[in-house]
Symmetry: C2
Subunit: 132 residues, 2 copies
Amino acid sequence: MKVSNEARDGLCPQRLVLEHVTSRWGTLVLIELLDRSYRFGELRRAVGRWGGREVSEKMLTQTLQTLERDGLVDRDAKPVIPPRVDYSLTDLGREAAEQVRALAVWTQNRLEQVEKARRAYDEVRETRSRTS
Amino acid sequence: MKVSNEARDGLCPQRLVLEHVTSRWGTLVLIELLDRSYRFGELRRAVGRWGGREVSEKMLTQTLQTLERDGLVDRDAKPVIPPRVDYSLTDLGREAAEQVRALAVWTQNRLEQVEKARRAYDEVRETRSRTS
DNA sequence: CAGTATCCGTGTTGATACTG
DNA sequence: CAGTATCAACACGGATACTG
């Protein structure tokens, strides 16, 4: 089945971990799981509520598997029908998630300044292309 | 010239910033610039020393432009020949970079545990595929 | 030196259909 | 419900050639 993990090799190992944690869906999953444990579909909807489009099943699966393999997420599959699988953070994952959340909170707080900077940047560029 | 920034739209703005900061080269650039200011080519080599392959000129340019537009990086182009351009962090960028570095340091410190978790994960999977 | 412009391979992503 | 399998699209990243 091969989740294309060793595919992108040639990088030092900590960069690999860093990329898993900071990956598009990795960050959101970690932050969500900081609140509480989630079931698969539930987590999918929760992540979707972050404003962008919803994460596909495939990507969520892949993200969760990667994080589980890295020992950041715990997968608890209950042998019932219909299936029920709960995902939660390990102690290690909680540490990572807190760092990531700090970054997200910072982003949230500084968003105004960033957007102001962007307007300023675009402004001068715009002016230049008119006068050139 | 269009750096494909508004291309990936439909995301809430803070996710955009978060993705810039946590992007493949964004993290490394921010961390490097935490030490001191760098010239373009210098920065390119510095980032390359992180173990992976070197960043292409194109990607470095793109990364720096995005970070500059977000107000995180300051670009100082001196009007000399040959050209000399120095990049450094703004106050805003320094805050972001510190968060990112904290994450990188955490990754470094916990790397052993992550790799141990990976071996354990691969172990059981291996065993299962043999006994199935 | 510090970019820009262009082309192009491929990895990542997502839609869809299917299974236990 | 919680996935897996397969396929197609496209954005990303890199190589190369060129400019001021």
